[in-house]
């Protein structure tokens, strides 16, 4: 009697645990927009004629989760209609979502990652090779974005720029160059991105350049970076930290992505964004198919849709992502705060992510010991 009772309790407890474990898969659901929740018959009547009918397929997309309304209405919604598919979202930052596909417990088909994290996923064999023929729009985007991590892997759907933002009321010098970050006018007033963030390795490259090296020189970079000790107040890990410190005037400026400059301007109207004369750095967000995806064709069709002129133009005008599609035309007003134009984008400095990845553990160690203490 006693044994039976114990057995039942344990079975119930285990069953409960399993249910709880499964729950995490049904994360955010993108299908809450009216278009997506319409019955499939109605959806088919408004969709293009070649749209498949019947039970909708499921496509799981892993993304950051910013600007959810825009993506629901302009990116995911129309794709669901046109391909009779239900998009399920999993959201989080790069590192968390990369860890999730590492664990392999989730059925993610398409993943949005910055190039640095995508390279890690490639090195660990977590991404599927793409078939560029299935993504014709690759031909219509700037060459820098076509195959940032090699022709086998996904394109960048947006290219942003790392430059310098500063508050002219707090900095006497007019900032024009990366070397100005070492200027005494930034004394105890500067923030730099943390080494583990996307922009961290770019600052290492900047330091090597400022130290006067044409080719990358690790030792010169780190000894140059150590000279910023008197200038740096704090290293930022999230852009929101930069914005807060800037608004509270804890810092006068530092390297930041152009697309966040509008937040700085909202806090400090006189703020300036500088594209340093040595060139800004390209920050690329890529799209890839996750290994083991059962919907590879659909995933590639989605990547193609995200590169299309229609989506690229809408996200540029909403100032959400800078466009890489060459056909997108923006007015001067629409281009403000957006990294736009062939001449701008093709001139950006680009880091070799495979090299960065290989050195990351070592660089982090040196950064901790030589700069951040």
């Amino acid at each position: 009697m006693k044994k039976k009772w114990l057995g039942t309790t344990m079975a119930t407890a285990l069953a409960t645990l399993m249910l709880v474990g499964c729950g995490s898969n049904n994360a955010n659901n993108a299908g809450e927009s009216p278009a997506a929740s319409a019955p499939s018959s109605q959806a088919a009547s408004t969709a293009p004629a070649d749209a498949p009918s019947g039970e909708p397929a499921k496509l799981v997309i892993s993304t950051w989760g910013f600007s959810p309304e825009f993506f629901d209405q302009e990116v995911f919604g129309p794709f669901e209609k046109a391909h009779n598919v239900k998009i399920v979202l999993e959201t989080g930052n790069n590192a968390d979502r990369l860890n999730k596909i590492r664990q392999g417990t989730s059925e993610i088909d398409v993943i949005y990652l910055s190039d640095y994290y995508a390279q890690q996923a490639i090195d660990e064999g977590l991404l599927e090779k793409i078939d560029p023929a299935q993504i014709p729009n690759i031909q219509n985007i700037f060459s820098i974005a076509q195959a940032p991590l090699g022709a086998d892997y996904g394109p960048a759907y947006t290219v942003g720029q790392l430059g310098i933002a500063y508050n002219p009321d707090m900095v006497e010098k007019e900032v024009t160059s990366w070397s100005d970050l070492w200027d005494p006018s930034f004394k105890n007033n500067l923030t730099l991105p943390n080494i583990t963030g996307t922009a961290g390795p770019m600052v290492v490259d900047v330091a090597s350049r400022v130290a006067g090296n044409a080719a990358f020189n690790e030792d010169a970079a780190f000894s140059k970076l150590a000279e910023t000790k008197g200038n740096v107040v704090k290293f930022y890990s999230k852009t929101s930290e930069f914005v807060n410190m800037f608004a509270q005037q804890e810092i006068a400026g530092g390297p930041i992505m152009e697309s966040y400059f509008k937040d700085l301007q909202a806090a400090v109207p006189g703020a300036k964004f500088v594209k340093p004369k040595e060139g800004g750095y390209a920050i690329m967000n890529t799209l890839n198919v996750v290994k083991g995806s059962k919907n590879k064709e659909l995933a590639e069709a989605f990547i193609d849709w995200q590169l299309s002129k229609e989506v690229q133009e809408k996200s540029a005008k909403a100032k959400i992502d800078s466009p890489v599609n060459k056909d997108v035309q923006l007015t001067e007003e629409e281009a403000r705060g957006v990294t736009y134009g062939a001449d701008v984008i093709e001139k950006l400095n680009k880091l070799d992510m495979a090299l960065v990845n290989k050195n990351m553990a070592n660089w982090t160690d040196r950064w901790n010991k030589e700069i951040a203490n």
Partner: protein, 273 residues
């Protein structure tokens, strides 16, 4: 009730703790001794040989100790005062003391950023009174972490002290005084030893909480790392779960050592406590 029923009632709790606490901790500890297919202590050797890791460890333990002492210094008088009040005002005062616990550490850290910053309240007063020419750098230093953590954990210290202090019979103090003890010596020899169990529980929670706190040091701290932010860096951005596990085990070990030392100290003051 039958014994078997009682054990049955225990089962869900035991299962929960077993699956979600004991198993992960054992796995974590085990994984730190096993690398490249053989048993090894290299993870720990590497950690303790590196002066940078030692420095992080010292900074973190230092911050936690100072926070604990500050919480005792601020919490004891407050708790003593509250414990001597009548039931009704005691309830109100306790509610006020606990109130900060109802807001998240993130919100509290942001408030401290506004207060401690260069353009913040404290620096406005200091510069306004002419005590300093330029604003002091408080935010993004270890001092800011200590202030944030003290604010975070003081209510817990007060609660655990009020619990023991209100159970100390005032007759004991009166008896000591009637037998010639001064107020100070009555406090030192009667009240303090009897309050020690609560003090130790409070101190352990504050110390361990400060040692493992992540949000407050990440938001209020500056360039220096503390052990929890260092662990996060290794686990989440470097994907070095081996070193992260070593750090976690070291944190567990420090916790046990500190709890042991505190228990021993209590025993000396109050052998029956």
């Amino acid at each position: 009730m039958k014994k078997s029923v009682l054990y049955g009632l225990l089962l869900p709790g035991l299962l929960f703790l077993g699956i979600f606490m004991v198993v992960p901790i054992v796995l974590t500890i085990g994984s730190t001794f096993y690398r490249g297919g053989s048993l090894t202590l290299s993870g720990y050797a590497h950690f303790f040989e590196d002066s940078y890791f030692n420095q992080i460890l010292l900074t973190t333990v230092g911050i936690s100790l100072i926070t604990t002492l500050l919480c005792v210094a601020l919490g004891f008088p407050t708790a003593y005062y509250i414990s001597r009040k009548k039931a009704r005002s005691k309830g109100i005062l306790l509610a006020i003391a606990i109130f900060p616990l109802l807001t998240s550490p993130i919100v509290r850290s942001f408030s401290w950023m506004i207060i401690l910053g260069r353009k913040g309240l404290i620096n406005d007063v200091i510069v306004g009174l002419g005590l300093a020419e330029k604003p002091l750098d408080i935010l993004y230093t270890p001092t800011a972490i200590v202030i944030g953590l003290t604010h975070l954990f003081l209510p817990i210290m007060i609660i655990s002290l009020v619990g023991v202090l209100e159970n100390i019979d005032t007759d004991l103090v009166q008896a000591a005084q009637s037998l010639g003890a001064s107020r100070l010596s009555a406090f030192a020899r009667i009240v303090f030893p009897l309050a020690l169990p609560g003090l130790v529980i409070g101190a352990v929670i504050v110390f361990v909480g400060s040692l493992t706190a992540y949000t407050t040091p990440a938001l209020l701290g500056g360039k220096q790392r503390v052990i929890s932010t260092f662990l996060y860096q290794n686990a989440m951005t470097l994907n070095d779960w081996f070193l992260a596990s070593v750090i976690a085990v070291i944190m567990i070990a420090i916790t046990f050592i500190v709890v042991g030392l505190m228990n021993r100290a209590t025993h000396q003051f109050n052998p029956k406590g």
